[in-house]
């Protein structure tokens, strides 16, 4: 019984903690596919708290696509149901027919978050390069909101800075707040204070933000803004605010020198 109480208390504490950041996630098996790696990339999609490996329900997205050499292809029908972080997610194996940068993008259906009294829509992107050709690494998709990379979003060493422009409806968002979180895949990272789970930076007057991660691995950048529209929440019958997230996932490589 004692153990149950401790567990229950911890669960209640976690549930009450407002600091947990939600992230749409598109994680490839490798952000830089060489010809020796094969001819395809394996993608895993989820909606989660990536530092705690706490999954949430990801309904079938409203849109899922890949853009390569200026052409966008609808991949929604190819998503396979999967359990990711013990919750509903999706996987997709995508064949890479030619060199270049492939930009995978997901628009989830609005997620109702009672704790925030708002819907959440995270427009999520991940860039994958194929066969040694990085052309297209700075592609802007024209999403409702997105992070447009100023730094190549793959092939980065740990501790490198990553810069991007936060855009909403194609325009930079001055002083936008960007939440940064590590995908703690093996739960090896710990924090002395839960405030450090999610790092926060602000963009400058031109919507440009900068961050240098302390380690290699996958790092998610989420710029959160309130939409200029509301959505009817059926339970209450009230119109609710919508949090729009521009999310990009970037992998930093372990430095191999001394």
């Amino acid at each position: 019984m004692k153990q149950y109480l401790v567990t229950a208390s911890f669960a209640a504490l976690m549930a009450a903690t407002p600091a947990l950041a939600h992230y749409g996630m598109i994680i490839p098996n490798d952000p830089m596919i060489s010809q020796e790696d094969g001819r395809s990339v394996d993608l895993t999609m989820s909606f989660s708290h990536p530092f705690e490996l706490d999954g949430m329900m990801l309904d079938k997205p409203a849109a899922f696509s890949v853009t390569h050499e200026g052409n966008t292809t609808d991949l929604l029908g190819g998503l396979q149901d999967a359990t990711v972080m013990e919750d509903q997610g999706y996987t997709l194996e995508y064949r890479l027919d030619r060199p270049g940068t492939y930009v995978f993008a997901m628009e989830p259906k609005p997620y109702w978050e009672p704790a925030e009294d708002a819907f959440i829509i995270h427009y999520t992107k991940t860039y994958v390069t194929a066969y040694g050709d990085d052309e297209g690494w700075d592609t802007e998709l024209g999403l409702k909101t997105e992070v447009v990379p100023l730094t190549k979003p793959f092939g980065l060493w740990e501790h490198n800075v990553f810069q991007g422009i936060i855009k909403m409806d194609g325009e930079p968002v001055p002083y936008a707040e960007v939440e940064v979180e590590y995908y703690n895949e093996d739960l090896s990272a710990t924090v002395p204070d839960e405030l450090m789970i999610t790092q926060t930076v602000k963009a400058d007057a031109d919507g440009v933000f900068t961050y240098a991660p302390p380690s290699s691995g996958w790092w998610g950048f989420a710029a959160l803004n309130t939409a200029d529209y509301t959505i009817l929440e059926e339970g209450s019958g009230e119109e609710k605010a919508v949090e729009l997230g521009a999310v990009i996932w970037v992998h930093f490589e372990e430095w191999t020198g001394n």
């Binding site: 030619r98 060199p99 066969y131 040694g132």
Partner: protein, 115 residues
């Protein structure tokens, strides 16, 4: 010879001939295949097409089968019926200052030709 061995041989060969000078941009070599031809494409990582260079076609056992010139559009075409491609092909492109390779595996040919 399977794709793995072709790759190992190609990597070893490429490392053996790789120039030692520092390269500010790399050569990107790619080859697509259909039932008739292998189309070789070469460009630099800055996006510029490689307008001249030697294209060497080797079989899966690293035996040189053919040498072609790269066209001004950065491409070269290898008729499939002109080479023994049963064990796959290694396509090397050397522009003088830069070189790289692409491996056409037997699976690439089968997948795109269905034979």
């Amino acid at each position: 010879m399977d794709g793995q061995l072709i790759r190992a041989a190609a990597v070893a060969a490429t490392l053996a001939i790789a120039p030692t000078g520092t390269m500010a941009h790399q050569l990107v070599v790619f080859a697509s295949v259909d039932c008739q031809v292998v189309t070789v494409e070469a460009k630099f990582s800055n996006g510029r097409v490689a307008q001249a260079g030697d294209v060497r076609v080797l079989d899966g056992e690293n035996t040189l089968l053919m040498t072609l010139e790269l066209g001004e559009d950065g491409t070269a075409v290898v008729p499939l019926d002109s080479v023994d491609h049963s064990g796959g092909l290694v396509i090397e492109v050397d522009t003088g200052g830069h070189d790289n390779y692409w491996i056409v595996t037997p699976d690439d040919i089968t997948r795109n030709c269905g034979s």
